[in-house]
């Protein structure tokens, strides 16, 4: 048995008693140029949606076109859940559902990473600590757990996580600073 402490022991919940402040943008990883061109990119759910609304920043779109991408089963699961949630009576549902299903079809299972059991435990502790320090409600807690799962999946895959979820990723990076992330804003 390994002498390494289990990953979920990396975080000491008792050390985190204050509400974390969001950091200014210049302290967050928004710089595309800082991401090595040989890095694998793991896509957060926002990327699949923003790309298909033509609202990705051009420099990020160029990187996506030329770099290796991998998928998180959690992010793909969020897309799949949305297909189920779409209102069948809404006139726009068939076309939106088709776009989302095409996206899932195109994501190769061999390039899709599921979080390990160790990542699940660590993500659960991270999201539990943040739920307490940030006074999150039940819906926000569930969402943050998914964010933490994608965040740690990227780390396990050795990939850079690409996300527009600036606030939650900021909090996660404050607890777990070593994870590689690229943040972006939607274009208007």
């Amino acid at each position: 048995m390994s002498s390494e402490p289990a990953p979920f022991r990396r975080i000491d919940p008792a050390r985190h008693t204050r509400t974390l402040a969001y950091r200014p943008r210049d302290q967050l990883p928004f710089d595309v140029a800082a991401v090595p061109r040989e890095a694998m990119l793991m896509l957060d759910t926002t990327v699949y949606i923003d790309a298909q609304k033509a609202r990705l920043p051009p420099e990020l779109a160029a990187r996506l076109a030329g770099q290796e991408t991998v998928h998180s089963s959690v992010a793909l699961g969020e897309i799949a859940a949305s297909i189920g949630l779409l209102d069948p009576a809404h006139a726009g549902t068939p076309s939106v559902a088709e776009v989302l299903m095409e996206t899932l079809d195109k994501a190769d299972p061999e390039r899709t990473m599921a979080p390990s059991s160790a990542a699940w435990l660590e993500a659960s502790i991270l999201s539990g600590v943040l739920a307490r320090t940030q006074h999150l409600g039940k819906d926000a807690r569930r969402k943050l757990l998914n964010d933490a799962l994608v965040f740690l999946s990227a780390n396990e895959a050795g990939a850079v996580l690409v996300s527009r979820n600036v606030k939650d990723i900021d909090l996660l990076l404050q607890l777990r600073p070593g994870v590689r992330v690229l943040l972006y804003d939607q274009t208007t």
């Binding site: 061109r37 040989e38 694998m40 990119l41 759910t45 990327v47 699949y48 949606i49 790309a51 298909q52 609304k53 033509a54 609202r55 990705l56 779109a61 160029a62 990187r63 996506l64 076109a65 030329g66 770099q67 290796e68 991408t69 998928h71 969020e78 897309i79 859940a81 949305s82 949630l85 779409l86 726009g92 076309s95 939106v96 776009v99 996206t103 195109k106 994501a107 190769d108 061999e110 390039r111």
Partner: protein, 108 residues
């Protein structure tokens, strides 16, 4: 001059190739493609196949310089890995255009 046998030119099987060493390929794109093909079980089959082709020397040298390998086996392996195992998802995604309504947000 004797002509090579059809078997030698078009694909007679010979001994198992040495296991691919990713470190032989300096281009990340090639390494990622090989890793993907290996995960799919496409690489590592028994035997190897000898191929012969007449190629433009300028093309060969340009490809060799871009991929950064010395020998023809590594060069063709890299080129075929990109052809068979290159990741196309990012390029596909960013050229889809505005298929979703501007106000669409995931419900989950």
């Amino acid at each position: 001059m004797a002509q090579p046998s059809p078997k030698a030119v078009t694909g007679g099987r010979s001994k198992r190739p040495a296991a691919l060493k990713l470190s032989a390929f300096p281009t990340p794109r090639v390494r990622h493609a090989l890793t993907f093909l290996s995960a799919k079980g496409i690489l590592g089959q028994a035997g190897s196949r000898k191929v012969s082709a007449r190629l433009d020397p300028g093309l060969l040298e340009a490809a060799r310089a871009k991929i950064g390998v010395d020998n023809d086996t590594d060069l063709l392996t890299a080129a075929l890995a990109i052809a068979a195992g290159d990741d196309e998802f990012g390029g596909w995604l960013v050229t889809r255009g505005a298929r979703l309504p501007a106000d669409f947000e995931l419900e989950f």
